[in-house]
């Protein structure tokens, strides 16, 4: 399946775009997604941390992704 992923902050700059497309086998988990993502954008693995948001909430590594999910890259936050 083809996932369109929103990228914010430093991940947006590393990806060079607000959105990145990642091709994943059906039934992939968040953890699988990160493996593919890091191979596609190796610099993302140098961040202090990288969380994945699914449908506007922090996702566990074991969560299974579906085509219709809203996925986003959450590098270390620094609000306030």
């Amino acid at each position: 399946m083809k996932c369109t992923v929103q990228a914010f902050g430093i991940t947006r700059e590393i990806a060079g775009s607000k959105e990145v497309v990642v091709e994943l086998p059906e039934g992939s988990t968040v953890s699988d997604f990160k493996t593919v993502l890091f191979s596609q954008f190796p610099r993302l693995s140098t961040l202090t941390s990288l969380f994945i948001a699914v449908n506007q909430a922090y996702a566990e590594d074991s969560q299974v992704l579906k085509t219709e999910d809203e996925i986003a890259l959450i590098p270390p936050v620094a609000g306030g």
Binding site: Q6, F8, G9, I10, R12, E13, T46, L47, T48, A53, Q56, A57, Y58, A72, I74, P75, P76, V77, A78, G79, G80
Partner: protein, 143 residues
């Protein structure tokens, strides 16, 4: 009221929104852009948010705070976009019958917002720039 906005924050409005006739205390936290960081002069900051999720995360934080402290009112406004030193990046106000609760709840909200809300800032210095906290081996900035 939870607001993520590119416009200057109206602090009085945040306070008024949080106020309540049953409250004896309002505590307000205001985050402002410092003119220095890691000993370097800050020219400006760029704030960016995943807006829908930021609102959702802040709502969870408020729910948790309302559960832990007897809050009578609250409001959170976070600015995004370009901010110069001295400008207000965030304003949080909570009211409660007694003052200790207002202090504790407000501190909990800003502490947790900084930890959880998907909001990012890039500091632009003279001769450089940096996404705060994003990469290891870079001094962390707290405010």
């Amino acid at each position: 009221m939870i607001k993520i906005t590119p416009k200057p924050i109206d602090i009085q409005k945040v306070i008024d929104t949080a106020s309540s006739l049953g409250a004896g205390a309002v505590n307000v936290f205001i985050g402002t852009v410092r003119n220095t960081a890691h000993g370097k002069k800050v020219l400006w900051l760029e704030y960016e948010a995943y807006e829908a999720m930021a609102v959702a995360e802040i709502r969870k934080i408020i729910d948790e705070a309302s559960h832990r402290w007897p809050l009578l009112g609250w409001a959170v406004s976070h600015r995004i976009g370009t901010l110069k030193p001295g400008e207000v990046s965030v304003a949080i106000a909570v009211s409660s019958p007694h003052r200790r609760d207002s202090f504790e709840a407000c501190q909990f909200i800003i502490d947790t917002l900084k930890e959880k809300a998907p909001i990012w800032k890039k500091e632009i210095f003279e001769g450089g720039e940096e996404w705060v906290s994003a990469q290891p081996n870079v001094a962390k900035v707290y405010n």
